[in-house]
Subunit: 402 residues, 2 copies
């Protein structure tokens, strides 16, 4: 993901935020598993996005129903237990955590979001986490590292980034995010948690619009295993502590939106690169005459276990891409598709064409493999990033037990 | 699959058929890769079903467009090359094979179906197969074993069955099928080839209706990897050589239909059991108020790599089943689903319930694991059989190369 020139890596975190983390015993190995992020400023604005599964985790329900999503001050997040498929009891546990954190911070309950990730179907020990609220509040610090650790599950790569954004009008703001996700990652939202902080001073409407656009271009465009989660949550907080105001619909807002877009795309790509057991990244770009068709084909290629195992094995078997294209558009035969892999054209007008096998072999052995598919017509395009499927995915998921 | 009492395993193949096979060099290891099945009787009736991929293989196109599907006499099938995504050149090669076989057998071109399976995107060497037509015709024999070998690709289990069917009116007919399939197996047709022969004397309309019903309950209800193929073909031939007439809409026809149903369900289950690298079979039964919803949930569970890896690892993680249910029905939260695994109820009213962990651990370690899911409402039901996902699937598919 190319980074715009007005965006640079930053040593400094956004002003006005503090983080803490501790081990509450949710992870069997005793690692950090509960984290808290807090904005110190009254007047902080926010926005949130969630997955749309029919089986929504209790923390998602509680945050959606009991919070003012435009004016959050804090997020309490845990790993090791998703608190999903836990019914009313799960909602009560999530609410208890929310209330304890609000009391410990001295803010309103509706200002505290809750998020969970981990095993589905086990009731969250909310009492235990609630009992940690005081310690979490007392140990808040200016470093997000432990917080980022605490939200990890099967992640092997770190997923936090800190940026400085220079706005056209001359102001400089900080932007940071801590993210987790490696499996159960898919469409219409990747299965992940992401918490974004900025010290820009913004309208809640700006945060909401920019976050929505950036999520659509990042976490909505990746697939590790095609599996929609129950817990996906992205929350962005803008503290205003920089005192740099970003006017809605200004050049500053556009520039800030570009930075947010680059940030979330970089983290989304890191999720794909960290796809459980992943060795390489696939990138599929489908062009053609109808948005629904190009979307379906891109999803079918990205989620095909045959394409994904070929990607893992550096197998130049482009026939599997053709198979996925055909499966996505039943009844459309004969379909005049074209396929290029890593820039090597392998099929045109629905049929294979001669190509240099050495060039294709080199393309499929690269760290990132680009699949370009052209369907009849023009004007629509869909892009997705996806993980390969290897032995490690099986090992992780055959042995990751309740 | 329970076998009706009027159906028994048979040593004898259906009368009036002959089979042959040889190695034409399509498989690199020199194994049998071309097979021919022929009905000796003029007046043979038939029916066929194909997949509906947007990328239909040349043999499917040729058989659909150039054959009289109700009056086929022979099928020429090859493994090692799918002749899919090969455009007009592929169609010409398939037609060349068809014509050579018709000439060698002395039947009309429209009486010879062609079928292929193997690598997608490589042009079929039709000339080479056509050159074998004479030898195939000269070596026809009363044994289907070599033919069944010749259509295999990554199959490790044999997939042919021979039955004797005792009809209510007292007649006895034979019914047999040779089948292949282990990967690229999915919905709206499993990715496979199946050739069915009977010596019953029937109307072509009966064959078509019974085959359609049996396919919907068998090859349409299995998933190895959720991948629709380009080449799926099921062809049934009824020679009439038994001289036992099956009257349309009679008890005899119903009894014969039950036998055909048992035959195809048994072969479909064998495909699932032979799913590439599979260790156990999953069976998902979803009940609820809407056919579309129960279908979607059953497919989502059967195709979920998280459910499949858990099945492989005997992992009692029912939360992944809940995740798949929710993903299949976005926006429906809160969803009052219930889940039982191997008869052990683990969730009710959308939430986990206490259960005996030893009983669940035993259930998920069985050779077949039953997942029962209840959604709100009643009257609709969907059943699917599916393979687990293990290291061998990765090995086979990461190393099965063009």
């Amino acid at each position: 993901v190319p980074c715009p020139t007005h965006v640079a890596a930053s040593e400094e975190l956004p002003a006005g935020f503090r983080w803490s983390a501790l081990a509450a015993g949710l992870k069997p190995d005793g690692a950090l598993d509960v984290g808290l992020v807090v904005s110190e400023r009254a007047g902080t604005v926010s926005a949130a996005r969630f997955c749309n599964s029919g089986v929504l985790a209790a923390p998602v329900v509680v945050t959606r129903e009991r919070c003012n999503l435009a004016a959050l001050r804090a997020v309490i997040a845990n790993s090791g237990n998703a608190n999903a498929a836990t019914g009313e009891a799960g909602i009560a546990q999530a609410a208890r955590v929310q209330e304890a954190v609000a009391a410990a911070l001295g803010v309103a309950v509706r200002e505290v979001a809750v998020a969970s990730t981990g095993v589905i179907g086990a009731l969250l020990p909310g009492e235990r986490i609630a009992a940690c609220a005081g310690e979490l509040a007392a140990t808040l610090e200016g470093d997000a590292g432990n917080f980022a650790q605490a939200i990890r599950t099967t992640d092997s790569l770190e997923k936090h980034l800190e940026l400085a954004v220079t706005l056209p009008a001359g102001g400089i703001v900080r932007l940071a995010a801590q993210c987790k996700g490696a499996g159960m990652i898919s469409p219409r939202f990747a299965t992940m948690l992401c918490f974004v902080e900025t010290d820009a001073s913004m309208a809640a409407e700006s945060v909401d619009a920019l976050l929505g656009a950036a999520v659509r271009r990042s976490f909505d465009r990746i697939s590790v295993d095609g599996q929609l989660s129950t817990n996906d949550t992205v929350i962005m907080l803008a503290s205003g502590a920089s005192e740099v105001w970003i006017e809605p619909e200004s050049d500053d807002e556009r520039a800030f939106g570009e930075a947010l877009d680059a940030l979330l795309r970089a983290l989304a790509l890191r999720i794909v690169a960290d796809g459980e057991g992943a060795r390489r990244i696939g990138r599929v770009v489908v062009r053609g005459g109808g948005q629904e068709a190009v979307e379906r084909v891109a999803r079918a290629v990205a989620d095909s276990p045959l394409v994904k195992t070929a990607l893992y094995g550096s197998d130049p078997n482009w026939g599997r891409v053709a198979q996925a294209v055909g499966a996505a558009l039943p009844g459309s035969a004969p379909l005049a598709f074209a396929i290029a892999i890593g820039g090597v054209a392998v099929a045109r007008a629905g049929a294979g064409i001669p190509f240099e096998t050495g060039a294709l072999a080199a393309a499929v052995a690269a760290d990132e493999v680009l699949y370009e598919i052209d369907l009849p017509g023009e004007g629509a395009e869909a892009e997705l990033f996806f993980s390969d499927l290897g032995y490690e995915y099986v090992r992780i998921n055959a042995e990751y037990t309740t």
